[in-house]
Symmetry: C2
Subunit: 219 residues, 2 copies
Amino acid sequence: MRAIVLVSGGMDSLYTAAIAARECEELYFLHFNYGQHTQAKEEQSFFQIAAHYRAKEARVVDYRWLAEIGGSALTDKGVAEKLNAQKIPNTYVPFRNATMLSAAVAWAEVLSAERVYLGAMDEDSSGYPDCRAGFIEAMNRVIRLGTCAGNISIHTPVLHLTKADIVSRGSAEKIPFELSWSCYYAEDVACGTCPSCLLRLKAFQEAGIKDPIPYKERI
Amino acid sequence: MRAIVLVSGGMDSLYTAAIAARECEELYFLHFNYGQHTQAKEEQSFFQIAAHYRAKEARVVDYRWLAEIGGSALTDKGVAEKLNAQKIPNTYVPFRNATMLSAAVAWAEVLSAERVYLGAMDEDSSGYPDCRAGFIEAMNRVIRLGTCAGNISIHTPVLHLTKADIVSRGSAEKIPFELSWSCYYAEDVACGTCPSCLLRLKAFQEAGIKDPIPYKERI
């Protein structure tokens, strides 16, 4: 089976890629440059992960229009400094998963691939509406109706896992966490204090495992 | 009301823009450069139509990744020469409407716009799966579930019209058909012989109205 794997370069998509590699013979890795501040670091992780899982092709799509239309702290000036579980985080990128999934499905149709893997987690769903199971099901219906092939579907194997689950399962399976990048900044070393580093460190702490990447600072 | 209008520069999207202008106060025009052979001509029509309907903003999105992944005669080398109603035409661009609608919805969310107008016609639906009413309904469900706003919807006012309807209604309403471009080639004057020119000329003939644009050749 042939599959597209959406890989941001973070832990969730890394573990999703590991599962895709078990389930499918031919993987096509897809990454988006949507003008995020961390693009250079993410792209480096993306290509390293693609090489690790022997992707047939690794493609970076120019999606800088997403930054041009604005509306997110991930692309606008300034980075989300605070984690706020009550409201939609200002790191929300408008309709991002739909725009990226539709591009992945277009590529799947060209390649006659049957699956698109996405590392969405409903742990995030309090904040991001496009990470919920209902959204993914609705998207699968759009794909069945809107493609000629009709047999392409989205797979979200980590949807109901926690980040701590990913760390403990991934470590048991010798997933190369050292290749992944989570920090909201694009410096040589992860900051250790941004919301994304804090979530990652908390996950490793809960799993009782040491994060293999170095940090500038640890709170 | 604020609305996004997807405008390719052809007759269907021109008439859709005219309807949007009647129904909404503030229009934001959106066009895609997806590496189509006719991009320069389409963009010219797009900006002229946007000026005619006093768009608050007219934005061209760089979507050349669609040409890079391949799969369509509209972007690959060579142009569809024959009209074949039995099969999916080779001018089909994989999942195009989904990829463009999702970008339009992302922009709508940033602008707090409530509507996205699309000039899809089910006359085309024998060939293009993403022009059918069921596809549009499924897309609206994805939008309700996948956006924070939750109140954005796609409007397809010409979905059940024929091209001849568009010509006769549009002429009665003094729509500027001379600003639209339909030809699959990007020369100074429309060829008059490609499948798209033939459909346009047939529509004007059925409506008993003279097409205001010049043609190189008429069969």
